[in-house]
C-alpha cells in the first residue's frame, strides 16, 4: 500500500488535510520551514508546487507565487532537494504538483526517477488528462509513484469510472469550473460533485476536494458530503506572501493548518 493510501487508512473516519505550498516562494529555505509548520499544524499530506512559467490551471495567488519562485531562481532540482530534506524529518507523504512540460522537458523517465529518489510519493499534473497518461502511467508504476488524476464538474459518470481505474493515491476532485484560488463561499456545484463522485466511485479510491477551499466550514461541508480529504492551497500561499516577519508568518501557517485539521475530525470538531 502506498504511503498516501496508508494515511487514509490510518485516519479512519476522519478526513485528511492536504496542504499545498509553492516550492521556492519566497525562497527554498523558507519553503522547508513552511512545510514544517504545516506538518506541525496537522497536515496529513503535503503538496509541493514546482513553479512553471505558464500555469494555466492556477489563479492569481499561485501564479504570482510561481513568478516569485522563478524570480528567486528556483529550479525543479531545488524542490526535489527540499523534498529529500523534509523526508529525513517527517514521514508525511509529499506530492509534487506541476505542469507536464516540467516532467517532459528533461525526459519523463529522468524526472520521475529523480523524484522517486528524492522521496516524492505522488505527482499531480493538472494539464495531463487521462487520455494523455499512457507513457506517464507506465513510468509512474515503474517508480511506484501514485498517479493522482483530476475529475471536474464537467466529467461524465462514465469518464469518472475510468479515472478511478487509472488513479492511485486519491482522486482529485476539482470543486468548481475555474482555476485555483480561495473563494469565500462553497458552491452547490461542489457538494453535488462530491456526492456524485461518491456514488460512482463507491469507496474504491479516496476523494480529495480542491480549488476554492479555504475555511473550516468548507472543510466540514465537503467532508460531510462524502469526501475523504480537503486540499487547501491558495490561502496558504497568500499567508506565506503576507509580508509578515518569517517567524510570525510560520506561526500563522501552523495555526491555520491546525484550525483546518480540527475541522477534519469527526469526533473532536466543533459542529457550530
Amino acid at each position: 500500500m502506498s504511503p498516501i493510501r496508508s494515511v487514509f487508512r490510518s485516519l479512519g473516519k476522519d478526513g485528511a488535510l492536504i496542504a499545498y505550498t509553492m516550492g521556492g516562494d519566497p525562497d527554498i529555505e523558507t519553503t522547508e520551514r513552511v512545510v514544517d509548520a504545516l506538518i506541525a499544524g496537522g497536515a496529513d499530506i503535503i503538496e509541493l508546487g514546482v513553479p512553471f512559467s505558464d500555469p494555466i490551471a492556477d489563479g492569481k495567488s499561485i501564479q504570482e507565487a510561481a513568478v516569485r519562485s522563478l524570480a528567486a531562481g528556483t529550479k525543479p532540482s531545488d524542490i526535489l532537494g527540499v523534498v529529500a530534506r523534509l523526508k529525513k524529518k517527517h514521514s508525511t507523504p509529499i506530492a509534487i504538483m506541476t505542469y507536464y512540460n516540467i516532467l517532459y522537458s528533461p525526459g519523463l523517465d529522468r524526472f520521475l526517477s529523480e523524484a522517486k529518489k528524492a522521496g516524492v510519493d505522488a505527482l499531480i499534473v493538472p494539464d495531463l488528462p487521462l487520455d494523455e497518461t499512457e507513457d506517464y502511467s507506465r513510468l509512474a508504476r515503474k517508480y511506484s509513484l501514485d498517479t493522482i488524476l483530476m475529475a471536474a464538474p464537467t466529467t461524465s459518470p462514465a469518464r469518472m469510472k475510468s479515472l478511478v481505474r487509472h488513479s492511485t493515491g486519491f482522486l482529485y476532485l476539482v470543486s468548481l469550473l475555474g482555476v485555483t484560488g480561495a473563494r469565500s463561499q462553497l458552491g452547490d456545484e461542489t457538494l453535488k460533485l462530491v456526492k456524485e463522485a461518491k456514488r460512482v466511485t463507491r469507496g474504491k479510491i479516496p476523494l480529495g476536494v480542491g480549488f476554492g477551499i479555504s475555511k473550516p466550514e468548507h472543510v466540514r461541508a465537503v467532508l460531510a458530503a462524502g469526501a475523504d480529504a480537503v486540499i487547501v492551497g491558495s490561502s496558504i500561499v497568500n499567508m506565506v506572501s503576507s509580508g509578515k516577519p518569517t517567524a510570525a508568518m510560520l506561526k500563522d501557517v501552523e495555526n491555520y493548518a491546525r484550525t483546518l485539521k480540527t475541522a477534519t475530525k469527526t469526533g473532536g470538531s466543533n459542529q457550530t
Partner: protein, 395 residues
C-alpha cells in the same frame, strides 16, 4: 476544406490534448460539432457566402514585377490576404469559428490576440454574427498595437489587458484558457492560430486552407502549373499552414516557413529553428524553453510572431523534411517592409515582411522561369508607428 483528419489529434507524435480535465468535455464537444458541421451543406454555404461577400474572397494573386526584378531570379507572386476585410488572413478562421460557435449555441466568444489582427477579426465576425466577444491581449502588445485595440473597442468587443508573464501572446492564451475553464458552458474560445489542444490545429488549418486552394487554382490559370515554392511567415503558423496544406502532397512544390529571428539567436521567436520539443497550451510541439522546461521569453519586432510555441503540424512537417523553416531578423523584416512599399506600393504587415524578406533571397537563387508565391498575410497600417519610431520619427 482539408479532408485529412489526424488520428487522436496527433501529427506524428506532435499535437494532443494536454489540458485540464475540466476542458476535456469541452474539446470533445467542439470536435463532435466540427466533424458534423464541416460536412454540413448549409454551414458550408453560409461560410462561403461570408467569405465571398463579407470578407472579400477570393483574394488576388499578384505578379509583383518590380519585386521580381529586384530579386533577380524567379517570378514572385503575392497572395494578397492583406486585401481581405480586417486587413489580414485571420478573418478566414474567425468567420468559420464564430459560425461554429453560433451553431453550437454558445453566445459568448473569447479570443487571445498578439498583434491584434486576430482580435479585430474576431470582433468583426462576432459583430456580424451577433455574438458577444471578449479579447485577451498582453499589456506589452496593447502598448505597441494601440490602433487595433481601439478598432476592437469600436466593434463592440471588450479588451482585457494581461499583465502576467511576458505580457505578450503566450500570456494572453494562458488567460483565455483560464477564462474558458471558468465559463465553458456558454463560451466558445476562438483560437487564432493552428495551436492549442486538438481539434483546434485542424479546425484553424482547415479554415485557412482556402489560401492555398486559391493559390493552386490561380497559379494554374496564370502559369498553367503549380508554383515551385511557396513562402509564408510562421508565428503560431496559421497563414503558413493554410498556404502549405493544399500543397503537401505536391512533392515538387517546396514549402518554406519564415520565423521571427528577432535580434539574434536566443533573442528571437524562431521556435522551429532554435527550439526543442515540449508541451504548452495543450499541445506537444517545438518550444523555446530553458533546460528545466520553463518557457522562454521571445523577442520580435512583430507582435504577431512573438510566440514561443508553434502549431504541431509544423513540427511534424519540419521533422519529416516536407517543409523547411528559416528565420528572418527584425532588420531584414524592416528592410523588406520598405522594399515592398517602395517597389510595389504595398505596405505589408511586419509579420508578412519576414516572408517577403526570405522570398526575395530565395527568388534570387532560383531560375527566371521558376515561380515563388509569398503569402502576404496582412497589411502594414498597424505597424507604421513602430517603423516611424525605429527611424526616430514621431507621427
Amino acid at each position: 476544406m482539408g479532408e485529412d483528419y489526424p488520428k487522436k489529434g496527433r501529427f506524428g507524435r506532435y499535437g494532443g490534448q494536454f489540458i485540464p480535465e475540466t476542458l476535456v468535455p469541452a474539446v470533445q464537444e467542439l470536435e463532435k460539432a466540427y466533424l458534423r458541421l464541416r460536412r454540413d451543406a448549409s454551414f458550408k454555404r453560409e461560410l462561403a457566402h461570408l467569405l465571398a461577400d463579407y470578407a472579400g474572397r477570393p483574394t488576388p494573386l499578384y505578379l509583383a514585377s518590380n519585386l521580381t526584378e529586384s530579386a533577380g531570379g524567379a517570378k514572385v507572386y503575392l497572395k494578397r490576404e492583406d486585401l481581405l476585410h480586417s486587413g489580414a488572413h485571420k478573418i478566414n478562421n474567425t468567420l468559420g469559428q464564430a459560425l461554429l460557435a453560433k451553431k453550437m449555441g454558445k453566445p459568448r466568444v473569447i479570443a487571445e490576440t498578439g498583434a491584434g489582427q486576430h482580435g479585430v477579426a474576431t470582433a468583426m465576425a462576432c459583430a456580424v454574427l451577433g455574438l458577444k466577444a471578449e479579447v485577451y491581449m498582453g499589456s506589452e502588445d496593447i502598448e505597441r498595437q494601440k490602433l487595433n485595440v481601439f478598432r476592437m473597442r469600436l466593434l463592440g468587443t471588450e479588451v482585457h489587458s494581461v499583465d502576467s508573464g511576458s505580457r505578450t501572446l503566450k500570456d494572453a492564451i494562458n488567460e483565455a484558457l483560464r477564462d474558458w475553464v471558468t465559463n465553458l458552458r456558454d463560451t466558445y474560445y476562438i483560437i487564432g492560430s493552428v495551436v492549442g489542444p486538438h481539434p483546434y490545429p485542424v479546425i484553424v488549418r482547415d479554415f485557412q486552407s482556402v489560401i492555398g486552394v486559391e493559390i493552386k487554382r490561380q497559379m494554374k490559370s496564370k502559369e498553367g502549373r503549380l508554383p515551385d515554392a511557396v513562402v509564408a511567415c510562421v508565428g503560431g503558423g496559421s497563414n503558413a499552414m493554410g498556404t502549405f496544406h493544399p500543397f503537401v502532397d505536391d512533392r515538387d512544390v517546396k514549402l518554406y516557413g519564415v520565423e521571427a529571428g528577432g535580434t539574434g539567436r536566443g533573442r528571437s521567436a524562431a521556435t522551429l529553428v532554435e527550439g526543442r520539443e515540449g508541451v504548452l497550451h495543450g499541445m506537444l510541439t517545438y518550444l523555446l524553453q530553458d533546460r528545466d522546461g520553463q518557457v522562454a521569453s521571445t523577442e520580435s519586432i512583430s507582435a504577431g510572431l512573438d510566440y514561443p510555441g508553434v502549431g504541431p503540424e509544423h513540427s511534424f512537417l519540419k521533422d519529416s523534411g516536407r517543409a523547411q523553416y528559416v528565420s528572418a531578423s527584425d532588420d531584414e523584416a524592416v528592410k523588406a517592409f520598405h522594399l515592398l512599399s517602395r517597389k510595389e506600393g504595398i505596405i505589408p504587415a511586419l509579420e508578412s515582411s519576414h516572408a517577403v524578406s526570405y522570398a526575395v533571397k530565395l527568388a534570387g537563387r532560383m531560375k527566371r522561369d521558376e515561380n515563388v508565391v509569398v503569402t502576404l498575410s496582412g497589411r502594414g497600417d498597424k505597424d507604421v508607428q513602430i517603423i516611424a519610431k525605429r527611424a526616430g520619427l514621431e507621427i
